[in-house]
Symmetry: C2
Subunit: 507 residues, 2 copies
Amino acid sequence: MVKKTEAELDTLATPTDEMQGSLKALAEAVARETAKDAGEDSDLPELNTPEQIEDFALQDDYALNPQYIELVIDAADRNDGMRLRELLDALHPADVADLMGFLSEDYREQVIPWIPADALADILSELDEGIREEVVETLRPVDLAEVLQELDSDDAAAVFEDMEADQQKAVLAAMDPEDREAMVTSLAFEEETAGRLMQREVVAAPDFWDVGHTIDHMRAHAADLPELFFDVYVISPTHKPIGGLPVSLLMRSPRDVKLSAIMEPVTEIEVGMDQEEIAYIFEKYHLISAPVVDAGGRLVGQITVDDIVNIIQEENREDILALAGVSDDEGRDSTVFDVVRSRLPWLCVNLLTAFMASSLISVFSGEIEKLVALAVLMPMVASIGGNSGTQALTVSVRALSSRELTTANALRTVWRELRVGWFNGAVIAAILGVVAGVVFSSPMLGITIALAVMINLTAAALAGTLVPLTLSKLDRDPAAASPIFVTMVTDCVGFFSFLGLAAIILL
Amino acid sequence: MVKKTEAELDTLATPTDEMQGSLKALAEAVARETAKDAGEDSDLPELNTPEQIEDFALQDDYALNPQYIELVIDAADRNDGMRLRELLDALHPADVADLMGFLSEDYREQVIPWIPADALADILSELDEGIREEVVETLRPVDLAEVLQELDSDDAAAVFEDMEADQQKAVLAAMDPEDREAMVTSLAFEEETAGRLMQREVVAAPDFWDVGHTIDHMRAHAADLPELFFDVYVISPTHKPIGGLPVSLLMRSPRDVKLSAIMEPVTEIEVGMDQEEIAYIFEKYHLISAPVVDAGGRLVGQITVDDIVNIIQEENREDILALAGVSDDEGRDSTVFDVVRSRLPWLCVNLLTAFMASSLISVFSGEIEKLVALAVLMPMVASIGGNSGTQALTVSVRALSSRELTTANALRTVWRELRVGWFNGAVIAAILGVVAGVVFSSPMLGITIALAVMINLTAAALAGTLVPLTLSKLDRDPAAASPIFVTMVTDCVGFFSFLGLAAIILL
């Protein structure tokens, strides 16, 4: 925080739109002076217009300004509802949702009632799950029903599915029959499938229409169009999508051209398709939207790229956390217990594999007693092996999820990893062998550790590729289960090869 | 591979469009029978129409079918250019690019000349970098210039920047003056910034126009419009973007409404902004496109979400690989040496930290000689600590990159991690303490290892959060450097606390 002098503060406190707001500003300034702890926020500029507030709230990198968060907390402490509303009103719903994640539960409870009602729908669909549940609990079913009806069907379903059964019933009862029907249909699909992710609102035109007729029709029925759409789907008489037209192409084309003459091929998504696969298709073919079809191939909705961006982040997040042994999604609002539950299981499995490695070591207790240098050096062999294994494993998991590693190039990949392991192994073995040999004045000890490193890096290369490949073949998530196996292999092979070779060569 | 009986094969070999293609199919079938290794691809169905080929080439999960790749290799072995062209022609450019990644360099050289010229532009921008260089080298400057002119300016720049200096000069000389100018301007911006990523083609309208005039104008100048666009930017007389209109909103609005009355606020991107930040903004605000402005705030281009999807994947990939100690991007086409170069440096650093940990152990050689159980148990303390540290570290790195962890909640996060560490530590320490105490019939040894685990998990929690936070404050990439520090801390603290406590308590 940059501390400002009194003179600078004065300048900052003078609003540019003084004519309109000076009285109000003065009254607020006085109220704030009176209420705040001495000097606590004396380095915060006055913020009166929404633009001033938004500029202040967002830093250069679009992260929320900690000082803005302090302002909110300060207003909550003073029970200054008007100021809270002012501060929240100025931000994009996504930023308000972000703010909630930075507040403690107590402050959230104080702030939530001041969220403007019309912004609530948008904010709800942006909130972290745990916080959303909190907010939803405070709303009356009638208000909730209204909020849900304002959202696209996919966002509405996402909010709805997190509610308690009682509340769901009450909300459904309060909805319009049509929206209720839509909600029930949407929820009939499994989570994380196209059916749940799609929005039912689509724009479709029969293939025999021409451009002019389509534009005229759309403009004449403007009120029925979705708020935002990117493609007009061309459908057959049986309601199957046979092509698509970006709206911009419609704009560029002469009126008398038939849709079927200029439509582009579309990639259909089946209602049952998993979100990870959908994301892969969107990414590969650079799609902006795609039609969703039912089992009979009929158009039932669409998925748009803005939802896909979130899914890609979600899937990546799951992968990266799974690789580190974090099983559940942890957010800012997770409790200590949530976090423990997501991490302790893996630590326990790790404890088991560590027991195995230790049992191996204990077999060689006699050797270690005779030559304590073995105890000093053995963790290095395991550590280098573990890191090599993690490298190979992570690259393999990424390649599998981007379909760059398949049975078509599996053998070639394993062979490359083996050669990489041998090369890296040779370098590390040489360094480690020489250092160990010199430090312990025992060339044979150097040779022993060098050989063990080569063996362990070979094991790391094999485990790092074959374990994820096998898991993927068995339809298990390679990111979640591979690290355990690979670490187990490199620990055990590391200790066993080093101590075993030492028993043969040295003792 | 599912083996098919002769009868099934016959059925498959009968094309549905027999009338048109039977003679050709017969000739091809004979040619294939003659050339192929006995029985090698006898389980591949006949594939004649582009639809048949595409259906066969893509599996249910949209990964390339290994059998399709075999077909291509087979055709290349037989030097059957017509068949190669047929096989490649049927696929989306993104799939052809994908295919290239599965072929070895020799096969690529054979296949590339058969890529249809009109598809080449699209395929080029999809290819993995290394392969793209190979392909580009085989093209004449005139052809390359034409290909580049067909691409959007961002894709063209991406292809151009990978070319050799000589070739760049020749290609520039072969380009139209206007396109050459655009290319040079684009390349003047730094890599991975908005200036380089943006496409210069935008649709903009002055704020005083109304909807009707805008639509009429766009339709009258259809030939000048970009091939695909999602938003019309509303600009001030000084060419600054003051709002935006999704094309679908233009469609929905009455003709006599002024653009300024219905335009939506836009999030401006400065030409110098880093791609990671741009991706964050697109994700947070669910943008489809955003205007790019120069230092003077004037509209100079736009960035669209399809490019952002790739960037998000790229940044995630970088993070996940960096956490595993893989520094460079590795692709299917990387050589063994590429891979070694990307991984060996981190293994060497790891060797250094392992040396440090080993030196610590050697300080306690005397203790280990007296009680060899210490050598058996010490890797467990280090291993559990290392895994806890990795968990905390990975969660912190993710939270930092999604701006969910900032100075505003840093203290709270560290405090939560500490409590998680103590809770997990207590559970693991209890198990490990009891087991060690019983196995080695020494309750004091159990207490020693339990205490050491608690100390090391405290260290892991602190290092796992404070190291990435500090690196991020120093504007360093926390994903790349944190693992080294955190592992060093948990290794050293693990060995030192266990052996040190043992020296005090047991010996």
